[in-house]
Amino acid sequence: MNNFLIIAGKEFEDILHSGIFLTVLLLLLGLTATSTIVSSLVFKSQVSAVQKQSSSLPQLFPLNLLRGTMDYLEIVGALLGILLGSLTIAKEKNTQTLKLILTRPVSRNDILFGKMLGNAIFIGIVMILVGLFILLGLVYIADVSLSLTEIVKLLLSLAMSWLYIMSFFSLATFITLFMKTLSNALLVAFTIWLVFVLILPQIGDTMDPDNQVPGGFFASIHFNKTQEKSVLASFSSYENTRNFIEELSVTKQYERVCFALLGIKPEFNGMQVKDILNQRWTEILLVTLFFVAGTLAASFILTRKDILFWDYK
């Protein structure tokens, strides 16, 4: 069998036997379930409130309930990617086996891409489980059914989440290869995570004029989206700066794609999948580039001899 596939298989086995990975996996699944349950309960409560007031329900978009789940995939999914990326390299550095493997007829790229494949399969399985949790929550707790188009949109969001988590995996792989100790590598990766996942989106969010009043400024003066846009057109430089800060974050790019697919941004509700992807192709490309950049950086640094074990001088 190809070396690359052997390494991928070994990597996958190691993950399944590792308590740390399983802890984070359970955490992610638990959070997904919690979020879906909370959103479903809120949804049911709102539906019954509307039903009390009038007999006809407004059009409902069940995928909108996944806002919280997407938030968790943004935050904890990225952490899962960082952990997998750090530990896959750390275990080899701890035992100095990278050096040993390289005495065999195995190329450095076989090692890197084998490890990536093993982890990619694992993350793929996690995403399938998350999808199942979501479906069960929506069907049995929120009491809604999904159309075929909605299932396709959900699957595409999960595929996007997979790419997003893999991009943090490749970043963490590079950092762990580069750093001298595992704890330093993890902390540097956590700091980057903090900046990309939380701080940059937070700055953009705080600068949003609509967020200056609890419940939204424009809602408080009963302005609709068109009126809001016409007002904000006078502040294009400010809005462009705010948008630029947000766009520096790979998390925001990922969020924009998923929020469009799931209709969390109302203007995308009911839109065809093809049209959504057409409108969001730049964001998809940027997340892909982030992943490719991390992978290339890891591949490049793996050619150095002094990164094969910890505390190199």
């Binding site: 802890t23 806002r67 968790y72 935050i75 700091t191 600068m207």
Partner: protein, 306 residues
């Protein structure tokens, strides 16, 4: 006691040699510097946005509501710091505690250290004092930065400055809890990744998960310092969940206490339904519990292993 003092001085010196600590510290200081400007810029823009919106309403024959932005409290300029303390400060504090607990283990000098006449309590006390001193110095630096940057934009009163320092006082208590958690797990967990991961998971739970369970807020909803309108829908399950989890939702208590001290978000729909002292006391109890965890950890610490 003399030994504790020696360990404290060593801790302070060593922390400033930790690159990851310095990296997080730089991020924290940069965001502290930026926070005032971000708020000032948002304030000016929203005032202009209101004027344009009001003009459009008048042109359409409607009556514009009075502007909610005429009198921003002076300390509204530092409201972003509430979030930066929760996010960056929390991780920085965990890193400090973790680094402090791991230092002798990683250097392999635990046996050597305890071959000297040093007790567990002295050892722990030295570590706790070192971490607390450095954290207090960082918080003091942040307060000074905010006083200087705010004074450049608005004229702060003496009361404002007292409130600002009180806010940083409660922030220090909040962050000490996380630093002590980091220290505790670094002392007892054999695996260094697990030792770091557990306090980070607790931090994620306190920061994102509990607010969702108690207030049905989206996890990223916490990132906005403007307190959201919390309106639990009419669902008995959600109400039970709220009642069960709310006493443990420390980050919400911190946000409420901070907003009250800074005199921001005074809208009655979003203010707390308990007296401010209740929230402050709960944060203090959280810190004491984490301190207790450190005390328990030092008694489980195997000084013959490393």
């Amino acid at each position: 006691m003399k030994n504790s003092f020696t360990i404290t001085v060593h801790e302070i010196r060593s922390l400033f040699q930790e690159k990851t600590f310095l990296l997080l510290l730089v991020v924290f200081v940069i965001m502290t510097l930026a926070s005032t400007f971000i708020s000032w810029s948002s304030q000016n823009t929203i005032k202009q946005v209101y004027n344009v919106a009001a003009e459009q309403m008048r042109q359409n024959g409607k009556v514009a509501p009075p502007s909610p932005f005429t009198n921003f409290p002076h300390l509204d300029l530092v409201k972003n710091m509430i979030i930066y303390v929760i996010l960056i400060g929390g991780l920085l504090a965990i890193d400090m505690g973790y680094a402090s607990g791991m230092r002798e283990r990683k250097a392999g000098v635990v046996k050597l250290l305890f071959s000297r006449p040093i007790g567990r309590v002295e050892f722990l006390l030295g570590k706790l004092l070192g971490v607390s001193f450095v954290l207090a110095a960082i918080i003091f630096l942040a307060a000074i930065i905010n006083v200087v940057s705010s004074t450049a934009l608005v004229s702060l009163t003496v009361q404002d400055i007292i409130n600002l320092f009180s806010f940083y006082g409660i922030s220090l208590i909040y962050l000490l809890g996380f630093a002590f958690l980091g220290l505790s797990f670094a002392l007892v967990k054999e695996n260094e990744v697990v030792a770091l991961l557990i306090p980070v998971i607790i931090w994620v739970a306190i920061t994102f998960v509990l607010p969702e369970l108690t207030s049905t807020l989206y996890p990223t909803g916490l990132l906005n310092p403007t307190l959201p309108i919390v309106n639990i829908p009419q669902s008995s399950t959600l109400q039970i969940m709220h009642d069960a989890v709310y006493p443990f939702s420390i980050s919400e208590y911190y946000k409420l206490s901070a907003a009250t001290i800074l005199n921001i978000n005074t809208d009655e729909t979003v203010t707390a339904n308990q007296p401010g002292i209740y929230y402050g006391s709960t944060i203090f109890i959280f810190m004491l519990l984490c301190l207790g965890a450190s005390a328990a950890a030092i008694y489980s610490f195997d000084k013959s292993k490393w």
